[in-house]
């Protein structure tokens, strides 16, 4: 068997284009994925027209002035702004494709915001957003980015209002100074101080004084009002964030998005390399007419299947290990777990090799084998990546069964467990079972191979 393995390696060595494509494919995919994952998403370009006059960018909130334009900075953390001076310019940038969207802040927005905050009525402040619908995915991304940023800005303004309201409540309860427009700084007595004054006045009144009943009522009111207004402060604070989120993982792994994406890239590349090599090299034995010569006593059919699985697994293992090493360095995986990575990769490579040999045995021709490897593997990979909840429960069960019949899903689970922690044994046993099953299919298919 080793001579046949050496022969196959020699043939691969004589096929520099094929080997070059396989190696370059893996390295390029890992580098592109690694750089993309480590650098984060690029910012979409958004035209930004702030039509608010410079002297009107402040909003009076209680006793202080807040610069409304500071909320635009939050947006610029997520998009690359193209600053323009007019609405028309902004729209033109979108139409020309230079910007994916445009955000226009009308001149009256701070006045309307001031009116809303001062409970003065009038229309609510509105900003205008323009999108290009040329690319639905990018449009959705820009829309989501602007919407989420505006939601954050609204929440921040709301929080400012609540903070100011809480200060007023404090002054009403405990007393203090309040800065009012036109009037300036004003001393407020406060409910607690008012009660103290009334209580001291009551103490000096005779027991039968006719004013005592009314003053006692005012004292009780001041006490009750102060206590209840104190309670309303935490209630007001909760309004700014009425619902908090507590995140708990109940199934699956704790893998970060970067780690999972890297694992998927590695398993995908491993699948293509192993399937194409195993299927192609077995079919090549028939195309070169060597199969009949080999199996007449030089090597058993089972030996031939084992040799092809070994060849494909070896190549796929080496390439995927290199890929994972590159990606691990780029996105900062824990290299202390590397021995577990190698175990997962090795079993995955063997399972994919067995599947490839089964494809080669059934199709019997190199071109058909390569085509079948692509046609089968792409939907299998896509199905394995469908998340639960994205489809109906029944359909997801079907998808899970179909995915489980091929090595992609268990290999991804094994690598995920090896990289990020979790149950490794189950997917490894799954891969071993698939190896035996596909090996058996390959062996049976060789009965009609010659």
């Amino acid at each position: 068997m080793r001579w046949l393995l050496l022969k196959d390696l020699q043939i691969l060595k004589r096929s520099p284009l094929l080997v070059g494509v396989l190696v370059a494919y893996s390295v390029v995919i890992s580098l592109v994925a690694g750089v993309a994952l480590s650098s984060g998403p690029s910012k979409p370009k958004v035209a930004f027209a702030n039509l608010v006059p410079e002297d009107k960018s402040d909003v009076a909130l209680g006793g202080r002035r807040v610069d409304a334009t500071k909320y635009a900075d939050k947006l610029f953390e997520k998009v690359e702004p193209i600053r323009v001076k007019t609405r028309e310019e902004a729209i033109q940038k979108v139409k020309s494709g230079e910007a994916l969207g445009a955000l226009v802040v009308p001149a009256d927005v701070t006045d309307k915001l001031q009116g809303t905050l001062g409970l003065g009525g009038g229309g609510r402040p509105t900003v205008e957003v323009y999108y290009s619908a040329e690319n639905p995915l990018k449009t959705q991304y820009v829309k989501d980015t602007i919407d989420s940023t505006l939601a954050e800005a609204n929440a921040a303004i709301s929080a400012e209002v609540l903070r100011e309201s809480a200060k007023y409540l404090n002054v009403i309860v405990a007393g203090g100074k309040v800065a009012l427009p036109l009037v300036g700084s004003v001393d407020i007595l406060g409910l607690r101080n008012a009660r103290k004054i009334i209580d001291s006045a009551l103490a000096e009144l005779p027991e039968d004084a006719p004013e005592r009943v009314a003053l006692e009522q005012v004292s009780r009111f001041a006490g009750l009002a102060a206590d209840n207004l104190d309670l309303s402060k935490p209630i007001l604070a909760s309004i700014s964030k009425p619902v908090q989120v507590k995140r708990i993982v109940v199934s699956g792994s704790n893998a970060s998005f970067s780690a999972f994406a890297a694992e998927a890239a590695v398993v995908g590349s491993m699948m293509f390399v192993a399937l194409l090599l195993a299927a192609g090299m077995l079919a090549l034995e028939r195309e070169e007419n060597a199969f009949g010569r080999l199996v007449r006593g030089l090597i058993s059919r089972t030996g031939l299947v084992t040799e092809k699985v070994g060849l494909a697994a070896l190549a796929a293992f080496v390439l995927s290990a290199v890929m994972l090493g590159i990606l691990g360095a780029l996105i900062g995986l824990d290299f202390a777990r590397a021995p577990l990575w190698l175990i997962a990769l090795a079993l995955g490579a063997v399972a994919f090799g067995a599947m490839g040999v089964a494809i080669g045995g059934v199709t019997r021709e190199v071109r058909s084998a390569s085509l079948a490897a692509f046609v089968i593997s792409l939907p299998v990979a896509a199905l394995a990546l469908v998340p639960s909840g994205a489809v109906s429960e029944r359909l997801y069960d079907v998808i899970r069964v179909v995915s489980g019949a091929f090595p992609f899903s268990p290999c991804l689970k094994a690598l995920d467990a090896a990289v990020s922690g979790g149950m490794l044994l189950t997917p490894l046993l799954h891969l071993a079972a698939l190896t035996l099953a596909f090996g058996a299919i390959a062996r049976i298919s060789l009965r009609r191979f010659a």
């Binding site: 020699q10 004589r14 070169e288 007419n289 009949g292 010569r293 007449r296 010659a450």
Partner: protein
């Protein structure tokens, strides 16, 4: 050679060999024996079962029934299409199969075959770059690597020009003179007449005749004389309903 082929020891025996593909029967109980030094041509129309019989004799195809036995030594198998790795050189192909055949001295076996097939000057050329004739020579060389006592060839001259055919048959005849039993299938009836001690006529998987080319001609001459061996062969098949 000390004895005439028919008197030499038996090298290969086929007893009631049958092969069925589902309902279709490709071979019906074929029996014959090949002696050391004997050259046997299997002839017959297309689909007669010639290749199937040779594949079963070579061990690359399982028979549905019957037995195949050899007295001693190994079997050399030369399939119709060259069974070679086109990305490997002539020497590398020979070396690979010599190793798979577990030859005791691999380099010596390779050298011997390069000399016997006159391919020494092409030893380092990739097989994919060789002409059809040279590829067939390498194909035959691989079949001879194990110094077989029985050599099985399927249409060995089909891709060769007349000059290369002459060389091939001279080479094969030399092997037979050295004691190798040579069994080959051919469509070229003239070659069977010239280079076979015995012909086996197969039609629809049935062995219709086993004897020398002259005996086949005599079989049909009883009715009307045939101008040549090919005509006699065609008439023979016609008389038997094929």
């Amino acid at each position: 050679m000390s004895a005439t082929p028919a008197a030499a020891p038996v090298a290969l025996t086929a007893e009631g060999v049958t092969k069925a593909y589902g309902e279709r029967r490709a071979l019906h109980g074929v029996s014959f024996a090949a002696h050391h030094g004997e050259r046997i041509a299997i002839i017959g129309p297309n689909g007669a079962g010639k290749t199937t019989l040779l594949q079963i004799l070579a061990g690359s195809l399982r028979a549905s029934g019957g037995t195949v036995s050899y007295d001693e030594g190994t079997i050399g198998w030369v399939p119709q299409q060259p069974a070679l790795y086109s990305k490997l050189s002539v020497a590398e192909n020979l070396r690979l199969f010599a190793r798979l055949e577990k030859r005791p001295d691999v380099p010596a076996s390779v050298e011997r075959m390069l000399d016997q097939t006159n391919l020494r000057d092409r030893a380092d050329d990739q097989v994919g770059t060789l002409s059809g004739g040279n590829r067939q020579r390498v194909n035959i060389a691989i079949g001879l690597l194990a110094e077989p006592s029985v050599l099985l060839l399927d249409e060995p001259s089909s891709s060769l020009d007349p000059r290369q055919r002459e060389v091939l048959w001279a080479f094969v005849s030399g092997l037979a003179e050295a004691g190798t039993a040579v069994v080959y299938a051919t469509h070229n009836v003239a070659e069977a007449e010239r280079y076979a001690d015995r012909v086996l006529v197969l039609a629809d998987g049935e062995l219709l005749f086993s004897g020398s080319p002259r005996e086949l001609e005599e079989t049909v001459q009883g009715a009307a004389a045939a101008p040549d061996f090919e005509s006699a062969f065609v008439r023979f098949l016609h008389e038997r309903g094929h």
